[in-house]
């Protein structure tokens, strides 16, 4: 599925600091079209910050992030246009609590005039069906379970028809029995050829679905490679140490 001839996201010497605290020290990597990239590592290693730099939810301190050939770090970039093309799924779902599920899905497409109201509703219903929640269109977020909320959040991102999807620990806030349904939606998405970057603690999922795994620690990429290379036969001591603790 990975198309090595097309680089979707190119990260060059990315740095990010909060005051004197340097969270990302020097990150460089490329994400190819159709690739599923899993980012693992201990908490505080900078993996979420890294992901949030890819759509500039975090202001980058140094280096470049190039999405579809456009450097999104430079001031002249219309970041809103770039974000229309990058879906994001959050640990805490962040569904709009004041809107019902259908409106959650159609708000951005309608506001940004991507399509007419009718088309937006049609697509939203299709996406809800895709995540198995077509009967929840009229419900409010507070009426859904965690797993359902996260599937809606994925559907909401997909309604903008993004080329890239970012997942920030999408299953970390879920009850164990709900993790599976969310991972299944993500697997389907990967099988459809979506370019995905996923920060996760689900090692089983990473091994099964990822094309490439990055292990981060203390603001650096310590090791990267296929799931086999990083998760099964890690070379770096820090990777081995981390995997021993989580597996």
């Amino acid at each position: 599925m990975v198309d090595k001839s097309v680089v979707k996201v190119s990260v060059r010497n990315l740095k990010k600091s909060y005051g004197s605290l340097e969270v990302l020290k020097d990150i460089s990597t490329d994400i190819y079209k159709g690739e599923v990239l899993c980012i693992i590592g201990p908490s505080g290693s900078g993996k979420s910050t890294f992901l949030r730099c890819l759509n500039r939810l975090e202001t980058v301190t140094g280096g470049e992030v190039i999405v579809n050939g456009q450097n999104i770090v430079s001031k002249g970039t219309n970041i809103n246009k770039v974000r229309e093309n990058i879906g994001m799924v959050f640990q805490h779902f962040n569904l709009f609590n004041n809107l019902n599920i259908l409106d959650n899905l159609t708000l951005a497409p309608i506001e940004l005039k991507k399509c007419s109201r009718d088309e937006a509703v049609q697509r939203a219903k299709k996406m809800l069906a895709k995540v198995g929640l077509e009967d929840k269109a009229a419900s409010y977020p507070s009426q859904l379970s965690g797993g359902q909320k996260q599937r809606v959040a994925i559907a909401r991102a997909l309604c903008m028809e993004p080329e890239i999807m970012l997942f920030d620990e999408p299953t970390s806030a879920l009850d164990p029995e709900m993790v599976g349904e969310v991972l299944q939606v993500m697997k389907d998405l990967a099988a459809d050829g979506m370019t995905m970057a996923i920060v996760t603690h689900e090692m089983g999922f990473a091994r099964e679905v990822a094309d490439r795994v990055i292990f981060m620690d203390a603001g650096y990429i310590v090791e990267e490679g296929t799931p086999q290379e990083v998760l099964v036969n890690p070379k770096e001591e820090r990777t081995i140490d981390f995997l021993n603790k989580v597996l």
Partner: protein, 223 residues
């Protein structure tokens, strides 16, 4: 008691009407002032944040009775006598409205700022991640949720403002308290007069807070 109601009832009701007029005018402008300074308090702009904070600090730090004297007597004096060449005079209603608007506006600004900041930052991030602009996200996602949490505090502030109109009797606006003073001076029936005035305030405020509860419940769908 009966005598006061039969003889002065109409007068007191008219005064209550003026009290409500003053409160409504004050609240109307207070909402505008509160919205402007409240939003200035949350946007990512140091200068706006500081201006908003200074405004709130000054108004909160000055008792309303002082503000009333300042606006009604002080400001015209400044222009007409100290600077000279002007002949500004404010009616008691104008001065009272300015006073209430500034005073209540400062508190509203704080309520609005706190209300917006009480909405989980993730709501804004999710909206922005879809490509919505800051102002679209604010209008469609953050403000509707913020307003819901603000409503009980808003109602509280409305009630305080309604009661604060009584302070403006000091600049001679013929609202309820001022009128009641005249009634009492004419009749010498202190107990009866102030009991009636107290009950009049009580009725109006009770109606206000009950109907506000209904609005609050209606807005709570989806929570």
């Amino acid at each position: 008691m009966i005598k006061i109601i039969t003889v002065y009832g109409g007068m007191l009701l008219a005064a209550l009407g003026r009290t409500l007029l003053l409160a409504l005018l004050g609240l109307f402008f207070a909402c505008i002032i509160g919205m402007i300074f409240g939003i200035m308090g949350v946007i990512k702009n140091r200068a706006c944040n500081i201006i908003s904070q200074i405004f709130v600090d000054i108004i909160r730090g000055v008792p309303m009775i002082v503000l009333a004297f300042f606006v009604y007597f002080g400001v015209p004096y400044l222009f007409n006598t100290i600077i000279g060449g002007f002949s500004i005079s404010l009616s008691a209603l104008q001065a009272g409205t300015i006073c209430l608007a500034l005073n209540c506006g400062a508190y509203m600004a704080e309520i609005i700022r706190a209300g917006i900041q009480s909405v989980d930052i993730g709501q804004m991030e999710a909206a922005r991640s879809l490509g919505l602009t800051y102002s679209m996200s604010m209008r469609k996602v953050v403000l509707p949720q913020a307003i819901r949490t603000m409503i009980p505090t808003f109602i509280n502030q409305f009630i305080i403002t309604l009661k604060d109109t009584s302070i403006l009797s000091v600049i001679g606006f013929p609202e309820l308290v001022n009128t009641a003073k005249n009634v009492q001076a004419n009749t010498f029936m202190s107990f009866q007069t102030w009991a009636i005035v107290g009950i009049m305030y009580l009725i109006v405020i009770t109606i206000l807070s009950r109907s506000a509860k209904v609005v609050e419940r209606r807005l709570n769908i989806g929570r």
